[in-house]
């Protein structure tokens, strides 16, 4: 298996996958606990539509994708105290609209189709050292912010009204979380594709929550799941000539089944 990673582009892909996996798995724990998995999916689609728009208008893909994602973040993070439309409905509308827009942008631009397919299905094999550095910086910043302000993020997510009653600005910490999530999703999609980014966001967290009831264990298992699936997925896709992103997600799926069985046997 190790001989696979003597190939230079696979080594870079491995490094990128490990870093993106760690970042998305960490944030994914909070996405699952906050019950905003659909937000993650919607942000991924919004980011993809941003890519399509940028390709259509010949503008900077990263900037347009990021701006649209942050607009989505601003919309989703507002919880209205009363309203006829639930937040979940709003997210569903955004998901549908963004998916449709992505297809429409592709329809208007011939060369966008191939590029957008790359974005959707994954292009981890083309990751560059610059992107690896970018994602590493993003990972370090995310971990630093969450470590320093762990209390605020946790209290605001767990019980926002009591947090507010205690003087914690829960609205601000929620918004900050969504901004970090939006930025991470936007850049992760550019690097590993929508499918793999979303897979990393959700599946490792679910595996971890099945197997552990302490945060230290949950973080460890989620990160380990992302890393194991990245390594095995790369090896399998190389050996069996399969698309890499979907292979990694398939390995995650197998790990999830194993985790579920283990959780049933140990209860």
């Amino acid at each position: 298996m190790a001989d696979v990673f003597t190939v230079p582009f696979l080594r870079i892909a491995l490094l990128g996958g490990l870093i993106v996996g760690c970042l998305c798995a960490f944030l994914g724990i909070h996405v699952v606990l906050r019950r905003i998995v659909f937000v993650g999916a919607a942000l991924a689609q919004v980011s993809s539509s941003g890519v399509g728009l940028a390709l259509c208008t010949n503008t900077n893909v990263s900037v347009v994708s990021l701006v649209l994602t942050l607009l989505g973040v601003a919309t989703f993070s507002v919880k209205s105290a009363e309203g006829r439309i639930t937040q979940e409905s709003l997210i569903g509308v955004a998901y549908s609209a963004a998916s449709a827009l992505a297809v429409l942008f592709v329809a208007k631009s011939a060369h966008a189709e191939a590029h957008l397919l790359n974005v959707l299905s994954g292009n981890i094999l083309t990751i560059t050292p610059g992107q690896v550095w970018l994602m590493t910086t993003l990972l370090v910043c995310t971990l630093l912010i969450h470590t320093l302000f762990y209390k605020q993020f946790l209290f605001s997510a767990f019980d926002s009204e009591t947090a507010k009653a205690c003087g914690i600005r829960a609205g601000f910490w929620d918004l900050l979380f969504y901004v970090i999530l939006g930025v991470a999703v936007s850049f992760s999609i550019r690097v590993v594709g929508t499918l793999l980014a979303f897979g990393f966001l959700v599946v490792p967290a679910v595996i971890a929550l099945l197997l552990s009831q302490r945060f230290a264990g949950i973080y460890t298992i989620a990160t380990s799941s992302a890393w194991v699936s990245t390594i095995l997925g790369l090896v399998l896709s190389y050996r069996l000539d399969l698309p890499t992103g979907p292979t990694i997600v398939a390995v995650l799926g197998v790990l999830l089944v194993v985790a579920w069985i283990v959780s049933k046997l140990t209860r």
């Binding site: 699952v32 606990l33 019950r35 105290a81 009363e82 320093l148 302000f149 209390k151 605020q152 946790l154 209290f155 997510a157 767990f158 019980d159 009204e161 009591t162 947090a163 507010k164 009653a165 205690c166 003087g167 914690i168 600005r169 829960a170 609205g171 929550l209 552990s212 009831q213 302490r214 945060f215 949950i218």
Partner: protein, 269 residues
């Protein structure tokens, strides 16, 4: 009187020297956005009091609590708070999301976060204080159990411990005995009585369960569309006032040293 502004409940609020009063609602209309739930509320929370806010379901009792805590602003009028006042809020335990893998100790420790500050970690002294709060409410032995595995009464006690961990001036509870059996309900109310009498904790409690509050609260605020009346329990809790508020005959009887509220039947006098 000097007025200063500060942050409370995520809002900018006014704090004034109110003497022995901790919170003052002055001609306040309360609600959400354009929806006015209560009008012309004049309510005071006195230091050392045990105030129960009672009334039929849906009249705005929780709205009063949220405005008091600064979670929402009054639509009109003023809500004034004593300088530096700290609230310990105990929400209904049903609003807590059970997906979070937190131990009883971890949940209670959250009450200490505002005291510790944004970046600092909880010290051993902080953790010892939290443990003492868990002991005070009788769940110390459950410190390492998952919060979501506790019974309703145990969860409520943990949330009370969380509120106490913040060293509050006022303990504010929203329907603390909802969905509890009589043993758990009795245990919670006796705990509150003990906190009030021996620890001198000021308590503000919302409840729609008259039979629960009438034997514990010193002061009652009766709410229905607005603040109907507020005064000592013996003055406010009468058959006449309750019958009027609830729209049906209400009788008060004494039984085994307790006051009991009975709906229906004949009223006094």
């Amino acid at each position: 009187m000097g007025i200063q502004t500060t942050q409370c409940g995520g809002q900018t609020v006014q704090e004034v020297d109110l003497g022995s009063d901790l919170v003052l609602f002055h001609q306040a209309d309360l609600g959400y956005g354009k929806r006015r739930v209560l009008t012309n509320v004049n309510l005071v929370v006195k230091n050392g009091d045990f105030l129960a806010i009672v009334g039929p379901n849906g009249v705005g009792k929780t709205t009063i609590l949220k405005t008091m805590l600064g979670i929402i602003r009054p639509l009109k009028g003023r809500v004034l708070r004593a300088p530096g006042i700290r609230f310990g809020y105990v929400p209904q335990q049903q609003v807590i999301d059970e997906i979070y893998p937190l131990t009883t100790l971890e949940v209670a420790a959250m009450g200490r976060y505002p005291i510790v500050g944004p970046i600092s970690r909880l010290s051993k002294k902080d953790l010892d204080f939290v443990l003492s709060c868990l002991e005070k409410v009788g769940v110390l032995n459950l410190a390492n159990r998952q919060f979501r595995e506790l019974s309703g009464g145990q969860k409520q006690r943990t949330l009370i411990a969380r509120a106490l961990a913040g060293e509050p001036d006022v303990l504010v509870l929203d329907e603390p005995t909802n969905d509890m059996d009589i043993a758990s309900e009795y245990a919670i109310m006796e705990l509150l009585r003990d906190l009030h009498e021996s620890q001198k904790v000021t308590i503000v409690m919302v409840s729609h369960l008259l039979n629960v509050v009438v034997n514990y609260a010193k002061t009652i605020a009766l709410v229905d569309g607005g603040l109907k009346t507020m005064g000592s329990t013996s003055d406010v809790v009468t058959s006449e006032s309750l019958s009027k508020a609830y729209g049906l005959p209400v009788q008060l009887v004494d039984c085994a040293g307790k006051r009991v509220v009975l709906a229906g039947g004949e009223t006094d006098g």
